[in-house]
Structure formats: C-alpha cells, structure tokens
C-alpha cells in the first residue's frame, strides 16, 4: 500500500492466533485472534507507528517482526527477503539489521553486566574479530552520542535512572548500525521531562543514522510527535492508516475519532471545547470477536450492515486508508 520501491519492511496479511488449551490432554478449545490479517509497509528512514489499546495486537505484531513469535500465516519481508524462512546465515544478517528497544530498560538490561559491556555485546557477537580497543572506541563514542557521560560506563544498570537506562538500551540497539528498530512503548515508563529527552534522541538518531522505526504505542501524543505514518489497530485489525498529519487532522474511523477525543491534554480551554466521543462498554475479547465490523457493538454510528459484513480497508483518499462502512458506501 505504500510505494514498494523504497519499502524496507513489508508485512503481508499477517495472522497470529494463540491456541487456548484445556484439560490434561491440552485439547485446543479455541483461539485468541491477536492479529487477524494485517498488512503494512515501512519505508526507508521513516517512522511507522501502530497505535491501539491493550489487546489490539500491536505488540504481537512487533514480536512477529522481531522473530520472537512465529506467525500463524502471512509473510514478513525485510529488504525483499521473507523473514519467516531465513537460513542460519540470513537470520544473523536479519538480527544485525533489526533491533529492539522495549518499555522497561531495567528488565531488558542484564543487571550483572556493566553498561560498557552491555553496549559492546552486539559487537562481540556479530564482529568476533574486532580488536578490543576498537570495540571500546565504538562503545564510548556511542555512549557520548546518546548523551551518557563516560563515568557511567563502569556502572551497572541498577545505578542508573530510568532515562539513563533507556539511553543504554538505545545505544545497544544502534551500535550495529541497523536499518530498522522496533520501539515497543519506549517512553511509557518514563516521566514526561525524561520522555521528551528520549523522544528527541530517537529523532536525532533516526536522521543521523538513516534509521527506520516501527513504533508501538498507546500514547497518541507521542505518536504524533515521532511518526511519519500511523496505523490505528482495534482487536487485531488495522482500522485506519494514514500519514500522521492527515490522521490527526482528519480522522475518519469512529474508533480513531473516539481515541483522539479521549486524549487528555493540559489545556483546559481545549478540553472544554473538545467534542468527546465516548465509546460504550469495553473492548470485547479477541477469542470471540464480534461478527462484521469488530467495533459495531460499541460504535455510535453503527447500522445494520456493520453487524453482518466486515468492512475492508480501502483507500478512501490518497494514502488515507480506512475500514468502515460509513466510507465504503460513498
């Protein structure tokens, strides 16, 4: 759906079901349909964000892209290669080029290692012959680039603040000069003043190292700041996909509109002016998603057809994709 020539990651009709087992024989009694037919692509040096609430499947997609989960069906292409069937050599190439930064740096950094060893480890794995002096040079250059002073290099992650630890995780992710970094809620655990620093750093690194990001977030304000493209997910499906400004200025899907209208902002005038679209109830379980449009039991604009036929993701305006019967009829 995005120009294929420059796309670096292509996700094609990705499906991931988790079986629900019961009894001593582990009989499969149903499936959690975490991701149910999702397609998108990410272009070189762009940030593509998946937003949605808990259970929408955004993290499952990230895990499939990182190779931590095997998709039930569908394909993921990275620079033209299908990453669900890579040879051992190719898998190594893939891991060098696709890195990750997670939400909680204290869980993703080994507490028994020093900062400099954590950042050096990818080099030691992928460039075994690199002389120690050179490894060290790379590490210290990078620590400086991510805004950490050299005296922190000898410390353990537990001696760092949340923001510093996340900088270490970012340094570890970029040291191999990857093409793509998966950012799974990279600032959700941080205070706002620190979050701003980390977001600025991510933007700087992207421009300087020509990185692409797959960003996973529930925070629409963060997404607007950092993304080029945004896809909104609901119960395992993309309901709307558009360039960032387009999506925030002209949200089409009722779910996107509801999400945007619910974001609290530190501006009392705006909050009073804002027309809130409140969805009824809570998201249903992904084990038995509603028939037709998955939002229809909660949607204020639902009509009869919504409960019967599932709307397809169609290009309503140039580059602006939406899956909703309100727009299909026109």
């Amino acid at each position: 759906m995005i120009d294929e020539m420059t796309s670096i990651l292509e996700v094609d009709n990705l499906v991931k079901y988790f079986p629900i087992r019961k009894g001593i024989l582990g009989r499969v009694v149903g499936y959690v349909r975490a991701v149910d037919g999702v397609s998108f692509s990410i272009r070189e040096n762009e940030t593509f964000s998946l937003v949605g609430e808990s259970g929408s499947g955004k993290t499952t997609i990230a895990r499939c892209v990182l190779g931590l989960l095997k998709p039930t069906s569908g394909k993921i292409f990275f620079m033209g290669k299908d990453v669900t069937r890579l040879s051992k050599e190719e898998a190594k190439w893939y891991r060098r080029n696709v890195q990750a930064v997670f939400q909680n740096p204290f869980l993703s950094l080994n507490p028994r290692m020093k900062v400099e060893d954590i950042v050096a480890e990818p080099l030691k794995v992928h460039y075994k012959d690199m002389p120690k002096e050179e490894v060290k040079k790379h590490v210290y250059e990078l620590l400086e680039k991510v805004g950490l002073t050299a005296d922190l290099a000898k410390r353990s992650p537990y001696d760092l603040s949340g923001g510093q630890a996340q900088r270490v995780a970012i340094a570890r992710a970029v040291i191999l000069k990857p093409k793509l970094i998966v950012l799974d809620e990279p600032t959700s655990a941080l205070d706002v003043s620190v979050q701003a620093q980390i977001l600025n750093l991510l933007v700087d690194l992207k421009n300087e190292l020509k990185l692409s990001y797959l960003m996973i977030s529930h925070d629409l304000s963060v997404v607007r700041y950092i993304s080029d493209w945004v896809a909104v997910m609901y119960l395992g499906k993309i309901v709307e996909l558009a360039p960032t400004e387009e999506l925030f200025e002209k949200p089409l899907h009722p779910y996107t509109q509801a999400l945007l209208s619910s974001v609290p902002e530190p501006d009392p005038y705006l909050m009073r002016k804002k027309k809130r679209i409140v969805l009824r109830g809570e998201p249903p379980s992904a084990v038995n998603p509603p028939p037709g449009c998955r939002l229809h039991p909660r949607c204020p604009y639902a009509t009869e057809v919504c409960g019967k036929i599932e709307p397809k993701l169609v290009e309503y305006e140039r580059d602006h994709w939406v899956a909703c019967h309100l727009y299909a009829r026109k």
Binding site: D191, P264, P266, L270
Partner: protein, 326 residues
C-alpha cells in the same frame, strides 16, 4: 471546619531506608474544600503518593511524620490509635489506587468484600439489607448487571470494571474525602475517559472532596478545580487549574507543561528539563529546583523561597517571580 473536610498543615515526612533518611515530603500545606477536587501533580519522587497515604493514616512502617497535621473533618488522623483510626479510615476518607487488581483479595467475590465493609463500617447486620446497599453501590458506579458483579471474583472483571468496583468500595460508606492515586494510569484512554467522567459525576452528586494524584497534566485539566504542582517533596506552585496550565509562573511548572507532547498540534522539537531530581536525603538551603533552573538569581541557592500569593488563590515559591511582583 465543615467547609474544609481535608486540611494538611506543614506536613514533613521522612523515610528511613538502608541508604539513609529520605526526606520525601518537605513542609507541605494545602486544604480541600467541600465538593472540590485538588490535584497534586508531579513526577516520580515528588512525594505526591506519600501525601496520599498520609491522608489515610496508612504510611508504610519505615515512614516517620516529622511534623505537621492532617485534619479530616477537623480530626488529626496522624495522632489516632488503631481503634479510632478505623472509625475515620474508610468512613470519612477513602482511597482508590492505580491498580485495582492489587486492591482486591483474589479469593473473595466483589459482593463479599463490599458486604464486609457494609457490615463493619456501616454496622448493617441484616444480610438482605446489606446486599441491597451493595447492589445500589455497584449500580451507582455504572456497572451493568450488579447481581452478576456481586458474585464475580476480581479476575473475572476487566480493568475498567474492576476500577469501577474499587470506586464502589471506596464510596459505599459515603466518605467526605476521596483520595484518588493515579486511578486511570493503567487504563486505556477510552476507559480513562469513562472513569474520569464517573468520578466527576459522583463528586458532584455526593459533594465529595477529592485529592487527585496524577503525573498527567491532561488528566488534571479534566478533573480538577485547583492544581498544586510538586517538585522534590515541596509544593512549588498552586492555584486554579486554568491559571496553572495556561499561565504558569514557576519555572518548573512552565517547563513541565512544555515537555508534554500534544496530540492536537504538531510540535517542533520537544523541550525538556536538563539534569535530574536532586538527592532527597540532603537538605538544600535555597530553592530545591535551582540546580536545574535557567532563571536562577543569586539568592536562589541561599534562601528557600516561600509560597506567596501573586494573585488571589494563586501562589508561587520562586524568588524571581516575587521580585518581579515587587
């Protein structure tokens, strides 16, 4: 007294830890009027949750109240023994927390928890009568099918429903003060909007005084009449919500608001606050924000600024602001 169900005076709280004495709350005073909601806003380590717990008389065992009073309807809750405490805690003041799943015992149904409260706190022994009160409390917080919820275990409810049940637990005794400690932080935005709406309508209906604790300035903009901004254990600025968010005076408040990315506007580069939180074990002779402030004056590192009203109801603790005022 009646018009100020919650008054906090000169409160100072220290934590005794293996790494030294952490001076978490430093001489904080505020009051909440009847039916009003006051927001304590601040980042991690600002002392806002410690204040929330002290209002319940529920500080952890390594905390010491060094000075100050917390008056609930005129009674200092910090001086009460266990027995007297129980007549106020859960009766006149209640709390809801960030994670509702952690505030319920997984072995009891929602109905059992609420029935116990009704029995021991309200003294309603009659089972039928107690159940009627409980069901009313459950429907009051917008839970569909209260009968089913009554017989549900916490794990059978979603996060949003469980938070509603926690609100029912807090309010079934009709307290006059509710402490809400980040009650929507774990919820998705659409559910957050629902819970904030619910708290607003209950506050109006029951005339509740609410002490709302949050790190999210956007949430503060929705639910609060007044905001007190905390930094490193002290209130640096307080005033009406509009004043604080639209024309902040203290350098920390200004910077904090500038840091927040907005979904309504495309930001250029985000501003941030350089440096990090000061070591809370130390005492600081001057303004505790001075090392990170880019508007420091000579006296800032020497003399602690007092909270002084710059306009009626709007107070700031900053030498520069006070000097400009003259």
């Amino acid at each position: 007294m009646a018009e100020k169900p919650l008054v906090v005076e000169n409160l100072t709280i220290h934590y005794y830890t293996l790494h030294g004495i952490v001076k978490a709350v430093r001489n904080v005073s505020f009051e909440v009027h009847r039916g009003e909601s006051l927001c304590l806003v601040g980042e991690s380590g600002s002392g806002k949750s410690t204040i929330g717990l002290s209002v319940l008389g529920a500080l952890p065992s390594n905390a010491r109240v060094v000075s100050g009073r917390v008056l609930i309807e005129g009674t200092n809750i910090l001086e009460l023994d266990e027995e007297n405490l129980e007549s106020i805690r859960g009766r006149k003041v209640s709390i809801i927390f960030q994670d509702p799943a952690a505030s319920f015992n997984p072995l009891f149904t929602i109905g059992q928890v609420l029935s116990d409260i009704v029995k021991y706190k309200l003294g309603i022994d009659d089972k039928e009568e107690a159940k009627r009160v409980v069901l009313k409390a459950l429907s009051e917080v917008g839970l569909p099918d209260p009968e089913r919820i009554f017989n549900s275990y916490p794990h059978e409810l979603s996060g949003g429903m469980l938070q509603r049940a926690a609100i029912a637990v807090a309010l079934v005794t009709r307290p006059s003060v509710l402490v809400a400690d980040e009650p929507t932080t774990m919820l998705d935005v659409t559910l957050q909007a629902q819970i904030l709406d619910l708290l607003q309508s209950l506050r109006q209906k029951l005339g509740l005084s609410m002490l709302f604790i949050t790190h999210n300035l956007g949430v503060a903009a929705i639910v609060c009449d007044r905001v007190a901004v905390m930094y490193a254990g002290s209130i640096v600025e307080y005033g009406p919500t509009d004043k604080i968010l639209l024309s902040p005076k203290h350098p920390y408040t200004k910077k904090l608001i500038e840091c927040v990315p907005r979904s309504s506007i495309r930001a250029g580069r985000l501003k941030y606050i350089p440096g990090s939180l000061p070591d809370l074990r130390r005492d600081y002779p001057g303004c505790i924000f001075a090392p990170r402030c880019d508007e420091v004056l000579e006296e800032c590192t020497r003399v602690k600024p007092k909270l002084v009203e710059v306009e009626p109801g709007h107070a700031v603790a900053c030498h520069r602001v006070l000097r400009a005022k003259g």
